[in-house]
């Protein structure tokens, strides 16, 4: 089956910087694909080339097997990371403007309900809170009832509650069968929403696959977390792979019983012990070694 979106050997060269350095992947119909990486990894540049907003230096982007064209612009919904809207328009008028630009469009009232904008529908769009603005930008992206939806760091700058509300919203949109491309630097967000993720660093993709498979491939252990003061000052006194992180120590182990026995033998109190599985944050650190290097 032809993928909805396919990227082949995409390169973007800016003066002195190769922002995207030969990226290839494809996104199947109805799936949510997450592009992850730290700030400056090249996610936004990659997405903008896929949206047809930034021309690539080389490589190609295909929509349903064809180069991006009029059909793509009519069927794609795009939420930019930062977008200025026209001043002096209300939420409802802004949505009406965008929906009238498309041949196929969703009812404005329906968009307002879907994106929970009822309370602010007649408010000037410059007077929205961060969460309301992100929901309006999402509603604009949905105005043409899109087949494929681009979300570029949609929850950056939102408080935790607004972020969780936004995730629920994306989940319900995904349930309608749309194909979604999401970029984020929140690993938790990717884990919660994406079927497939690709981790980018310095313009390249360094890992790609379903989140659980990637975690299984790279880790066969869990993490024991203990407060730093509960362990001896010299961590090498304990024969376990321990890593100090701020006021905590993380010990990774494939055999929890054995590790606990060693800790008890060394008189370490286990009152504040937490055991957690490996997450995408760990995977990113594992793959880039970035924090270990600093």
């Amino acid at each position: 089956m032809t993928p909805v979106l396919e990227v082949r050997d995409l390169v973007k060269q800016y003066p002195g910087v190769r922002a995207v350095d030969g990226v290839s992947f494809s996104i199947g119909a109805g799936s949510c694909f997450g592009l992850l990486g730290p700030n400056g990894a090249g996610k936004t540049t990659t997405v903008e080339m896929m949206e047809g907003v930034t021309p690539p230096t080389s490589g190609e982007v295909l929509y349903l097997g064809e180069p991006l064209g009029a059909r793509f612009r009519e069927e794609a919904g795009i939420q930019f990371q930062k977008t200025a809207l026209q001043d002096f328009l209300t939420v409802r008028e802004t949505l009406a403007l965008f929906s009238r630009l498309y041949p196929r469009r969703r009812d404005v009232g329906d968009l307002i309900r879907t994106c929970a904008l009822d309370q602010v529908a007649d408010r000037d769009n410059r007077k929205l809170s961060g969460g309301q603005m992100q929901r309006l930008l999402l509603a604009i992206a949905l105005a043409n009832d899109p087949r494929v939806l681009f979300l570029d760091e949609p929850t950056t700058g939102l408080d935790p509650q607004a972020r969780h509300n936004f995730w629920e919203l994306i989940r319900s949109i995904k349930a309608e069968g749309r194909t979604i491309l999401l970029t984020t630097h929140y690993m938790e967000e990717a884990y919660f929403l994406c079927d497939v993720i690709a981790i980018m660093d310095r313009g390249r993709i360094i890992a790609e696959g379903p989140p659980s498979r990637l975690l299984k491939e790279h880790f066969d252990d869990v993490v024991l977390e203990l407060p730093r003061e509960d362990l001896p000052p010299d961590l090498s006194a304990i024969p376990l792979p321990a890593l100090a992180a701020n006021d905590r120590v993380e010990i990774s182990t494939g055999d929890v019983e054995d590790a606990l026995r060693v800790l008890l033998d060394h008189g370490v109190p286990l009152r504040h012990l937490r055991i957690r599985p490996r997450n995408l944050e760990d995977l990113f650190l594992e793959l880039t070694g970035r924090e270990l290097r600093t």
């Binding site: 907003v53 930062k82 403007l97």
Partner: protein
């Protein structure tokens, strides 16, 4: 060209403009100041053309019975005391007064040999005193400077509204990223441009029409032709000038740069398009260059309609040239249009 998309962008731009109070007020305030200035300068009673000091016999007022010249209109007669005769002569020497008339005995008068107005007012005096030539009254008002200047002032006001109104907005949209967002929709540069141009056209022609009506009320001026044809001329001229402004803004991403470029384009029009004075007598190459400017074409047509009562057929060449310019500017702008700042 998709008309529904064009209408959507047009409507949104109109809403934005109407709700942007400060800009809206400024768009009406400047023309209003023009009306007030015009009314003060050219309105009310016609002003005297000549100034004449008169020394009358003791006890008499300045009465036509004293001398028929005193009945002349548009001459400002000022009575001077006999003792001030010397001072009055000095005023004549300095061109501050055009003529000094002493009616105490046999009338005497002083004029400055070098003063053109003195020369003319002397003729009036001699004509009234001799009474030989019989007066032949004719009808028809002369074309005053106000009649000639008014289309120029209205045109200049339109030019600024057209060039800056659309130019600034487009550059601001580009800078803020709104254009980048639109570029991800099916809207084309031609549709976007046409929507901006039509929105500004509505405003400019609306304001100018109101200004025209207000001026007609306060400052009587001449319009020999059809008001509808004048409206058509205004629409064609505005279209060409807005399209020109849109072309200037097709690529810039900074308001400062756009402002400089538009200023650079507006000054030649201010000076060469015949807003303030006619270019008759200027070198022919300069006249030819001036005729290539949209404002020149619009003012030429407007003056032909207002001063000579020209009809559609007479101004058709101007209208055709303006329409061609509008289409060419829009085409060039759409072809080179930049949606984003790289």
């Amino acid at each position: 060209m998709n008309l529904r998309r064009l209408a959507a962008v047009w409507h949104a731009r109109n809403l934005e403009f109407l709700r942007d109070r400060s800009t809206l007020i400024f768009n009406f305030l400047f023309p209003l100041a023009l009306v007030v200035a015009f009314a003060l300068i050219f309105g009310g009673q016609p002003r005297p053309v000549f100034k004449v000091d008169v020394v009358a016999p003791t006890g008499s007022a300045l009465d036509p019975a004293l001398h028929p010249f005193l009945d002349t209109r548009y001459v400002d007669f000022v009575q001077v005391e006999p003792g001030a005769l010397e001072a009055a002569i000095r005023k004549v020497e300095r061109h501050q007064v055009d003529l000094l008339l002493d009616l105490r005995a046999a009338p005497r008068y002083w004029i400055n040999e070098d003063s053109p107005k003195g020369y003319l007012v002397e003729k009036l005096l001699l004509e009234s005193a001799a009474g030989r030539a019989r007066r032949q009254p004719v009808t028809g008002a002369a074309v005053g400077y106000v009649d000639w200047l008014l289309p120029g002032i209205l045109g200049m006001n339109m030019m600024f509204s057209c060039l800056f109104g659309v130019g600034y907005v487009v550059v601001r949209y580009r800078k803020s990223g709104f254009l980048r967002r639109l570029s991800a929709t099916p809207v084309t540069a031609l549709e976007f441009g046409a929507a901006q141009i039509l929105s500004r056209l509505l405003l400019t022609v609306g304001v100018t029409s109101m200004l025209y009506a207000a001026l007609a009320f306060f400052v009587p001026f001449r319009n020999e032709g059809s008001v509808l044809l004048l409206l058509l001329v205004a629409v064609a001229g505005a279209l060409a000038m807005i399209a020109f402004g849109f072309m200037m803004a097709a690529r810039f991403a900074s308001e400062e740069l756009a402002s400089g470029a538009i200023n650079l384009a507006s000054w030649p029009m201010m000076l060469l398009s015949g807003v303030w004075f006619s270019l008759e007598g200027a070198p022919s190459w300069l006249q030819a260059a001036a005729r290539a400017l949209p404002l020149t074409q619009m003012l030429e047509a407007a003056r032909a309609v207002m001063l000579d009562g020209a009809g559609l057929r007479d101004v058709l060449p101007n209208l055709g040239w303006l329409a061609t310019m509008a289409l060419a500017f829009l085409g060039i702008a759409a072809a080179g249009f930049r949606w984003r700042v790289d």
